[in-house]
């Protein structure tokens, strides 16, 4: 009898906490999303009218930012994958006894606050930094081109900030590959590209899936990179939600947008996991 109860007792405090401070808030957010402002009431006073059109209005009004969020997040994820895969591969197979040191170095930049690093990028890419004058000297960009306040800067900042989230799961699954399988493939006359396509990549798929999810999800909801490195023309959904909460005090719209974002992400993630065929994620 005691044995059967043990797991539930272990789960109870944590799940009670998560229920109160994760599930309840989400339910509450769903309720807020269909409210409308009280006629003649103060700012920030809303009543439940089950107005589902809030979702439609919020989406139409912000479809540009919506599209941008998913475009930027996708670009950042693809770029991060392109940078992180060879890096993880090199650490797993080519680093010898320095494997642990290099692994620590991947995580190390994390410890300097990511906001400090993002602001550092803003200054490096800014007019007073060294990148812009150099590129201008070599004529790569024109005198009037700037790097900050552009979509380029936002996507680059996101790629940078989420790179460790991509590298670590990739490393974990590449490191697990038995090097003998690669040798076997070579013995069977596969060239480097075929070996990668038929052996390395399929075996590292769990890492690819985990890494892309860990990058895409926070990237789609991010607004810090867009706020620091971007301009009003690069606003993402996160920026809209933030300003609806703090500046406009329009909770229903903010809630509807949050919910739409979460639903869109969950649908994409589910489709993606189905397609990539890895159920064992957590």
């Amino acid at each position: 009898m005691r044995k059967i109860r043990t797991p539930y007792l272990l789960l109870l405090p944590g799940f009670a906490f998560l229920f109160t401070f994760f599930i309840l808030p989400i339910i509450n957010l769903a309720q807020t999303s269909t409210q409308t402002s009280i006629a003649g009431g103060d700012t920030g006073q809303y009543e439940q009218t089950l107005r589902f059109a809030n979702y439609f209005d919020a989406f139409i009004e912000n479809k540009e930012q919506f599209g941008r969020s998913f475009l930027y997040a996708t670009l950042a994820t693809v770029l991060a994958l392109a940078i992180a895969y060879p890096l993880a591969y090199a650490i797993a197979f080519k680093s010898g006894k320095y494997k642990n040191v290099l692994l620590v170095l991947v995580v190390a930049p994390f410890f300097t606050s990511f906001l400090l690093r993002t602001i550092a990028w803003k200054q490096i890419l800014g007019e007073e930094g060294f990148v812009v004058p150099t590129l201008r000297t070599f004529g790569i960009i024109s005198e009037s081109t700037t790097l900050t306040s552009t979509s380029f800067a936002v996507v680059m900042g996101m790629t940078y900030n989420f790179l460790p989230f991509m590298t670590l799961p990739l490393f974990a699954s590449i490191d697990r590959i038995d090097p003998r399988t690669l040798e076997a493939s070579g013995d069977l006359y596969a060239n480097g590209i075929t070996t990668f396509r038929k052996v390395t990549l399929p075996l590292s798929m769990p890492g690819v899936v985990a890494g892309t999810l860990l990058t895409f999800i926070p990237a789609a909801g991010d607004y810090v990179n867009a706020a620091i490195l971007g301009s009003p023309n690069t606003k993402m959904l996160g920026n809209v939600i933030e300003s609806r909460y703090f500046k406009v005090v329009d909770y229903p719209t903010a809630a509807a947008l949050s919910f739409t974002l979460m639903a869109a992400i969950l649908i994409l993630v589910t489709l993606y996991i189905r397609k990539a065929g890895t159920e064992e994620l957590v």
């Binding site: 401070f21 190390a108 410890f111 550092a120 909770y251």
Partner: protein, 278 residues
């Protein structure tokens, strides 16, 4: 004989071809080197500008000074914000590590009804964008007329740290050799003794790693904090708010110091681990 052949062949390959071959063979290492450079450019920049004799706004290099390092609380708001971040981080770490470890043991060690639902409940907070987590908690607090501030922030941090603790500790539990515990039982240790003397010490590095992860997640969090902290300032929030009018160089000092401190902790941890393995 073989020495002779080597001597004879090397000069016949032209330099260009040799460089090409070296690059080809080390391509991935060169690539890794470039990737690391990319990772460290802003860290180096932050470190360099911690020595800037900048006054209020740390935008342009004005000269070398050690003053910022000698007096990191020279800008008092920085240290105040840092103190809050550390307090919140420690509380969030303690609670999320305890709750998360318990969940990890339940899921990792027991077969029970609702196990897959439990896994889902752990996965969901990680799949929820931070902004949704932060916004939904804030609206709950508003409904119950709780003002955003210190404790709401701590609660918010525990919420998003728990899942990461569970995943980390669970991975460690999964990698345990069950025979070690069976051996302890065979030697007449009861369940509690087995847990305390065998299981827990073996899982401890995983728990320590999870705690470190929770602290760094909490310490560096901005989005969720921004929603639930009200007028309270944390270190990341301070940087964000003061970004427009210029961040004092003391913030760079603290950012760099955190970097070296964390690096030291990780290295010491590695050394301790290695000695234990031996």
């Amino acid at each position: 004989m073989s020495q002779k052949i080597k001597d004879a062949t090397i000069p016949t390959i032209p330099l260009g071809a040799r460089i090409q071959r070296w690059v080809g063979r080390n391509l991935i290492k060169i690539y890794a080197f470039i990737a690391f450079t990319y990772l460290f450019i802003p860290v180096a920049y932050t470190f360099a500008f911690s020595f800037n004799d900048s006054g209020k706004s740390n935008l342009i290099w004005k000269g070398f000074t050690l003053d910022n390092w000698k007096n990191p609380c020279g800008a008092p708001e920085v240290c105040n914000a840092l103190g809050n971040s550390i307090k919140i981080g420690l509380l969030a770490t303690i609670f999320s590590t305890i709750l998360g470890t318990m969940i990890a043991f339940a899921i990792g060690r027991h077969k029970f009804k609702g196990r897959s639902t439990s896994n889902l409940l752990i996965f969901l907070p990680m799949a929820t964008p931070e902004i949704v987590l932060g916004a939904s908690l804030l609206s709950l607090f508003l409904v119950f007329k709780i003002n955003p501030g210190f404790w709401p922030t701590v609660i918010a941090h525990i919420v998003f740290c728990i899942s990461f603790v569970v995943v980390t500790v669970k991975a460690r539990i999964a990698s345990l050799d069950p025979r070690l515990e069976q051996a302890a039982m065979d030697l007449y240790a009861n369940e509690f003794q087995t847990f305390r003397r065998v299981t827990l010490p073996l899982v401890a590095p995983g728990i320590a790693g999870a705690a470190l992860l929770a602290f760094s997640l909490s310490f560096d969090d901005f989005i969720i904090t921004n929603f639930n902290s009200g007028t309270l300032t944390t270190f990341p929030k301070f940087i964000y708010v003061s970004a427009a009018r210029g961040i004092p160089a003391q913030a760079n000092v603290i950012g760099s110091a955190m970097f070296f401190l964390a690096l030291a902790i990780v290295i010491v941890g590695q050394l301790v681990n290695r000695r234990r393995v031996r």
